[in-house]
């Protein structure tokens, strides 16, 4: 089997598993909203990885846009329009607008400086959400609202009462986002991002305006991470200020690295491992994070290309 066939086979397998997840997850001791959680966090990690794994730029502040998506969706539904789809749209617009502005300010920075500044901007939003009690709910988070059934005119989808219906709404959003990112990465524009990752100097002297292309990559990444944030708020019927904090950003980086940041599906695997470990270990002990930390250290030490990188290497080619 050649490389292209293998890739198609892997894609088909992933989509079949995702499409049928609500029907086998319960049998394995899971539950449908756990599946939704995997998908939402996987979308966030894959969006981050568009920037990290395929452009070579490390952001440690993606939680800011994830959280803005969450608060954008929650506050829209709570204060403005009781509509789930409007909430998602507003969440994405808010996150994307902030990312566009902040991106313009930081796009000249590289490496550790870029990462530090993304943390700093993220913390700004965290403190706003944390302090502005009357609007954001402060430390308690934004509650007192819930996702609402979607009325399409000819039919009504009860995403509130039916966990499976909500799972498939998330899956549709996930599929659209992932398809767009995959197509972008195979376009000439996507290849300029790979070029920047591989060798920024060469890219520049090939005639690629590197800062501009990094800005676009950052923006695309933040559009989808805001979408993930909006879906995450809908999943929980709640927006948490911790969604904006730097340790949430760190979780996304961990998921991407854990699964394998050079592979397209890697962050999905990473998010699945992260969420399942969190769900299982946190029911046994409060110190679940130390187990994830230990697991992460082992993966980075022994399989620097992540779990998927390991699978690739051991598979006969």
């Amino acid at each position: 089997m050649n490389a292209i066939n293998k890739r198609v086979a892997a894609d088909v397998l992933v989509w079949i598993l995702l499409l049928t997840m609500p029907y086998w997850l319960n049998g394995l001791g899971g539950y449908t909203s756990l599946g939704s959680r995997v998908l939402v966090l996987a979308l966030a990690a894959m969006s981050l990885n568009f920037l990290l794994g395929f452009t070579g730029v490390l952001s440690f502040g993606h939680a800011a846009y994830f959280g803005l998506g969450a608060y954008g969706a929650g506050m829209t539904i709570k204060y403005l329009v009781p509509s789930t789809l409007t909430g998602i749209a507003v969440g994405v617009i808010v996150g994307t607008t902030a990312a566009a502005i902040i991106g313009t300010l930081i796009v000249r920075l590289r490496g550790i400086y870029f990462a530090m500044v993304t943390i700093a901007f993220g913390q700004v939003f965290y403190y706003i959400a944390f302090r502005w009690n009357s609007v954001t709910g402060g430390d308690d988070g934004l509650s007192g609202w819930q996702r609402l059934p979607i009325d399409l005119g000819f039919t009504r989808i009860d995403i509130l009462g039916n966990d499976k219906a909500f799972y498939y709404l998330v899956l549709v959003c996930f599929a659209i986002a992932v398809a767009i990112m995959a197509a972008l990465l195979r376009s000439p524009f996507g290849r300029t991002l790979l070029a920047i990752r591989e060798n920024e100097r060469r890219a520049r002297f090939l005639g690629i305006p590197v800062d501009r292309h990094i800005w676009f990559s950052w923006l695309i990444s933040c559009v989808f991470v805001s979408l993930a944030g909006a879906l995450y708020a809908l999943l929980n019927n709640f927006a948490d200020p911790h969604n904006l904090r730097w340790d949430q950003s760190g979780d996304f980086v961990i998921m991407a690295v854990l699964g394998g940041m050079r592979s397209f599906w890697g962050p999905l695997i990473g998010a699945a491992i992260f969420v399942v470990l969190q769900d299982y270990v946190s029911s046994q002990t409060d110190n679940w994070m130390s187990f994830i930390g230990l697991f992460f250290v082992l993966v980075v030490l022994f399989f620097p290309r992540g779990v998927l990188g390991l699978v690739r290497r051991s598979a006969p080619s």
Partner: protein, 248 residues
């Protein structure tokens, strides 16, 4: 009008004067070599032309246009391509992918965010049309896995894929063995003779320089020491004293 006109450029790094008031005029179709002892400012001078650095004083015209402070990417769009003293390529991509990216950027597709089978076909044909200089059998290999000589050859191919009007080569044969040096020299010779490509190269190997160059410019300690045909340079006493004398 000359293709490249460098007027009296200087580059200071704090108190260090790396390039001190050097001028150079290159005509279209010319092959110019820059030689000089280590630390003479050759690479800094190259960096000023390609936009990696901007001069402290002086100006640079390319095809009549002032490019002194222009960003590197814009200079590439106008037709200035370069290679580096230490090979700069995309190591985890294949030779073909390296060339493909260069061709797509040169074709103006760099912002094209969709997949076009028609454009892909054109790009593929152009990749296949490049002189691969012995790399054909290695086109699907990752460049990072290839030998030093093949990596440097790939970098030159990538620069050529941009269809430059001025090609800047910084020590193209550095670290190469006899056979590889010969192959690269032949390639440069053919580009110059058959395609009338304008080339400026920095080179330490004097056989390569005297075999290829129409004119030679000698730098020493940031100054222009001499300039002329290979015969004139070979006969120049100041050059012999400062540079060739050392080698002999």
């Amino acid at each position: 009008m000359s293709l490249l006109q460098v007027e009296n450029v200087s580059k200071h790094f704090g108190n260090l004067v790396a390039v001190d008031g050097v001028s150079m005029t290159v005509e279209a179709g010319e092959l110019r070599a820059i030689i000089g002892p280590n630390g003479a400012g050759k690479t800094t001078f190259f960096n000023l032309i390609s936009g990696f650095l901007t001069p402290t004083a002086g100006y640079i015209l390319f095809d009549g246009e002032d490019v002194t402070h222009m960003l590197p990417a814009r200079r590439v769009w106008r037709g200035i391509a370069r290679t580096f003293q230490v090979t700069e390529i995309f190591p985890e991509l294949t030779v073909r992918e390296n060339l493909r990216i260069a061709i797509e950027v040169a074709a103006g597709y760099r912002m094209r965010a969709w997949i076009s089978p028609e454009a892909d076909g054109k790009v593929r044909a152009r990749v296949d049309g490049l002189p691969m200089s012995g790399l054909t059998s290695k086109a699907e290999r990752q460049v990072g896995e290839l030998s030093h000589g093949d990596q440097r050859a790939t970098e030159i191919m990538v620069a050529l894929a941009l269809k430059p009007r001025l090609l800047l080569l910084d020590e193209p044969t550095a670290g190469m063995g006899e056979r590889e040096t010969y192959k690269i020299t032949q390639l440069i010779h053919k580009l110059h003779r058959d395609q009338k490509m304008t080339i400026v190269l920095i080179e330490h190997d004097m056989r390569v320089v005297f075999h290829l160059a129409d004119r030679i410019m000698v730098l020493a300690e940031g100054h222009l020491l001499a300039e002329g045909t290979p015969q004139e340079i070979a006969a120049n006493e100041a050059v012999q004293a400062a540079y060739l004398g050392q080698a002999a």
